[in-house]
C-alpha cells in the first residue's frame, strides 16, 4: 500500500490525519517539522507528501520547492488553516493563508486543502493524486 509522509507542526492534526489515512489502508510516516520531513523522505522515501504550509523553520512553500528538486513527480498536498497569520518577517500587517497556498501551488504543489476539511474530502484528494 502507498506510503504517505505527513508533515505538520501540530501534533493533534498529525495524529488524527495518520489515523484517518491508516484506516483507509495507507502506510503513514509522521514528521513534526520540515527538516525532519526531508530527512525521513531521504531515508525511507514516500509515495506522497502531505504538508502543512505555516510551520516554523522550513515552511510548506520551501518544503514543496525542496521536494520538487529531488522528486519532480512526487504528489504533494498542502494544507492550511483558513484565515491569516502574522508574516514570518517583521513586516506590518498579516498575510492571508490563501496567499501561502497560492505560493505553494506556484512552487509545484499538486493540491491544496483549507482546514477544516472533512474526512471524505481528504481521502478523495489523496486517492485522486495517487491515481494520477
Amino acid at each position: 500500500m502507498a506510503n504517505i509522509l505527513i508533515i505538520d507542526d501540530e501534533k493533534d492534526i498529525r495524529v488524527v490525519l495518520k489515523e484517518v489515512l491508516r484506516r483507509a489502508g495507507y502506510d503513514v510516516t509522521l514528521a513534526a517539522n520540515g527538516r525532519d520531513g526531508l530527512e525521513k523522505l531521504a531515508a525511507d522515501g514516500a509515495d506522497m507528501v502531505i504538508t502543512d504550509v505555516i510551520m516554523p523553520g522550513i515552511d510548506g512553500v520551501a518544503m514543496v520547492q525542496q521536494i520538487r528538486e529531488t522528486y519532480p513527480d512526487m504528489p504533494i498536498i498542502v494544507i492550511s488553516g483558513g484565515g491569516n497569520v502574522a508574516p514570518m518577517e517583521y513586516e506590518p500587517g498579516a498575510i492571508s493563508t490563501s496567499a501561502y497556498l497560492a505560493s505553494a501551488t506556484i512552487a509545484g504543489a499538486n493540491r491544496t486543502l483549507t482546514k477544516p476539511f472533512e474526512r471524505q474530502e481528504l481521502l478523495d484528494a489523496v486517492r485522486a493524486q495517487l491515481d494520477a
Binding site: 488553516g81 483558513g82 484565515g83 491569516n84 502574522a86 490563501s98
Partner: protein, 481 residues
C-alpha cells in the same frame, strides 16, 4: 534670495504713507499758489481802484496851491493802506509829509504783488485835468495781505495734518477689521493642519473675501472630518478583519482534529447507540463552527476565493429573492422592483446571493409593526465624480445599484458606526451571530463595490450596494460588422 515677508497691515500703512508723502506736499503747494494768486489779484485791484479815486480827486485840485495837494496826499496816507504818496507836477516834486517809504528817485513801478522786498506795492497814475497833467506816485502796504496769506497757509497745514490723522486712524481701523479675521483664519487653518479640526469655522466679518474664504475653509474642514471618519472606520474594520482572521486560523486548526476525531469515533460506534447520536450532535456543532469561521473569513476577504465571473446580475438577484420569499414568514410584505437586463457584473453568484439574503434578513429583524415592509430594488446607474468623491470605494463610471430598505425600527448613530463589525449585534445574546452584515461588507469589498446606509430611528433603514457594471466597449460590435 529669500523673499522678505511683510504683514498685510504694515504693507497697507506703507503704501498709504507713500501716497500721502507725494500727494500732500503737492496739494499744499498747489493750494498755496491758488490762494496767493487770488489774494494778490484782489490786492492789486484794490490798489488800482484806490489809486484811481485819489487821482480823480487830485484832477480837480491840480490848479490849487501845492499845500492843498500835500494835504490831499496826507489824507490818502491817513486813510490806512497807503504808505507813500507823491506827485510830479510841472517838474515839481510834491511829497506827503507822512510818506515813510522810498523816495521818488528810486520809484519803481510794480506790476505784481510782492515784487519789492519792502512789502510795498508801487503804482503811478496820470492825473489829467482840462489844461494840466501830473503823475501820481502811490505805495500800498502789502504786509497785511502777506500776513493774511500766511494765516491761510497755516490753516491749510492744519487741515492737512487733521486729514492725515484721520487717514491714520481709518487705516488702523481698516487693517484691524481686515487682518483680524485673516489672523483668525490663519490660526484656525493652523489648528486644522495640526489635527485639531473639530471646531466649526464661522465668521461675522462682512468682507466678502473673508466670508468666502471662511466658507471654503469650513467646507475643507468638514470634508476632512468626514474623510477621516471614513478612514478610521475602514481601518477599524480592516484591523478587526485581521484580528478575526488570526482567531479563525487558530480556530480552524482546533476544529480540524475535532471534526476528524468525531468522524472516526462515529465510525467505531454501532448505528443507533446513544453515544453515536451524541457524537453526531458534536459533528453538527463542529460543522456550525466551521460555517461561522467561514463567515468571518468572508468578512476579512480571507476565504478560499472562487474566481469571479462576468454574468448578468438580474437572474442572480432574482434567485436570491425567491429564496428569501420562501424563508420569510408569509405575512411579511416584501416589495421587489428589479429591472431586467441591467447588465453584467463580475461576481461570485453564491456570494451575491448571500449578500442579498443577509441584507433582507437584517431588514426582517428590524421590522416591528405589522404594516412595515421590506423593499428590494435593483437598477443600473452612472456614478459621477461628485458622487464618487463622497464614497471611499466608488469611482466615476457604470454601476449596478441594489437597495434593500425596511420601514423597521431604524438605528442610532452608534449602531450605524459599528454595524459592519463582526460579532456586533443589537439582538439578544444567542439570537444572532453579528456576522451577517460583516459578511455583506466583505462580499462588497471583494467585488470592488461600495455599501452605504441611511437610517432613522423609528423610520427604518436603507442599505445601498454599488457593484461595478461590466460595460463592453461600444465600438467592439461596430467593428465586427
Amino acid at each position: 534670495m529669500a523673499k522678505r515677508l511683510t504683514t498685510l497691515s504694515s504693507r497697507l500703512v506703507l503704501i498709504v504713507l507713500l501716497i500721502h508723502a507725494v500727494l500732500l506736499p503737492a496739494l499744499f503747494v498747489a493750494l498755496s499758489a491758488v490762494v496767493k494768486q487770488n489774494m494778490a489779484d484782489s490786492f492789486v485791484d484794490y490798489a488800482r481802484v484806490q489809486g484811481r479815486l485819489l487821482a480823480d480827486g487830485l484832477e480837480l485840485e491840480l490848479d490849487k496851491p501845492q499845500s492843498v495837494l500835500v494835504a490831499h496826499l496826507d489824507s490818502a496816507i491817513l486813510g490806512g493802506r497807503i504808505v507813500h504818496a507823491s506827485m510830479q507836477h510841472s517838474d515839481i516834486e510834491i511829497t506827503s509829509s507822512l510818506t515813510t517809504q522810498s523816495d521818488l528817485a528810486t520809484f519803481n513801478e510794480d506790476f505784481e504783488f510782492g515784487e519789492h522786498d519792502d512789502q510795498t506795492y508801487y503804482l503811478s497814475l496820470p492825473v489829467v485835468s482840462a489844461n494840466d497833467t501830473a503823475l501820481l506816485y502811490l505805495g500800498f502796504d502789502e504786509s497785511l495781505t502777506q500776513d493774511n496769506f500766511e494765516d491761510v497757509q497755516r490753516s491749510i497745514i492744519l487741515i492737512i495734518v487733521a486729514y492725515l490723522l484721520i487717514v491714520i486712524v481709518a487705516m488702523i481701523y481698516l487693517s484691524a477689521t481686515m487682518t483680524q479675521p485673516l489672523n483668525w483664519l490663519q490660526r484656525a487653518s493652523r489648528a486644522i493642519a495640526s489635527g485639531d479640526y473639530h471646531k466649526k469655522l464661522e465668521t461675522d466679518s462682512r468682507l466678502l473675501e473673508i466670508h468666502d474664504l471662511t466658507l471654503d475653509l469650513e467646507r475643507m474642514r468638514s470634508n476632512l472630518v468626514k474623510v477621516n471618519a471614513r478612514l478610521r472606520h475602514a481601518q477599524r474594520l480592516e484591523s478587526l478583519g485581521t484580528l478575526a482572521g488570526g482567531v479563525a486560523h487558530e480556530f480552524n486548526n482546533v476544529l480540524q482534529p475535532l471534526l476528524l476525531y468525531t468522524e472516526l469515533a462515529l465510525e467505531d460506534l454501532p448505528d443507533g447507540s446513544p453515544i453515536a447520536s451524541n457524537m453526531e450532535r458534536v459533528l453538527e456543532l463542529a460543522n456550525r463552527a466551521k460555517g461561522l469561521s467561514k463567515q468571518i473569513l468572508t468578512f476579512g476577504r480571507l476565504g478560499d476565493d472562487v474566481e469571479l465571473t462576468v454574468m448578468p446580475v438580474t437572474p442572480v438577484v432574482e434567485e436570491a429573492v425567491t429564496m428569501i420569499r420562501a424563508l420569510l414568514p408569509a405575512n411579511v410584505d416584501l416589495r421587489v422592483d428589479i429591472d431586467s437586463g441591467i447588465g453584467d457584473v463580475r461576481c461570485d453568484p453564491a456570494q451575491i446571493q448571500q449578500l442579498v439574503v443577509n441584507l433582507c434578513n437584517n431588514a426582517f429583524q428590524a421590522l416591528v409593526t405589522s404594516d412595515a415592509h421590506i423593499g428590494v430594488s435593483l437598477m443600473s446607474t452612472t456614478v459621477d465624480s461628485k458622487q464618487a468623491a463622497q464614497h471611499h470605494n466608488l469611482h466615476a463610471g457604470e454601476y449596478v445599484v441594489l437597495d434593500v430598505t425596511d420601514t423597521g425600527r431604524g438605528m442610532d448613530a452608534e449602531t450605524v458606526e459599528r454595524v459592519y463589525e463582526p460579532f456586533f449585534t443589537t439582538q439578544e445574546v444567542g439570537e444572532g451571530t453579528g456576522l451577517g452584515l460583516s459578511v455583506v461588507h466583505g462580499i462588497v469589498r471583494r467585488h470592488d463595490g461600495e455599501i452605504s446606509l441611511n437610517s432613522k430611528l423609528g423610520e427604518g433603514t436603507s442599505f445601498r450596494v454599488y457593484l461595478p457594471r461590466v460595460v463592453v466597449a461600444g465600438n467592439n460590435e461596430h467593428e465586427q460588422r
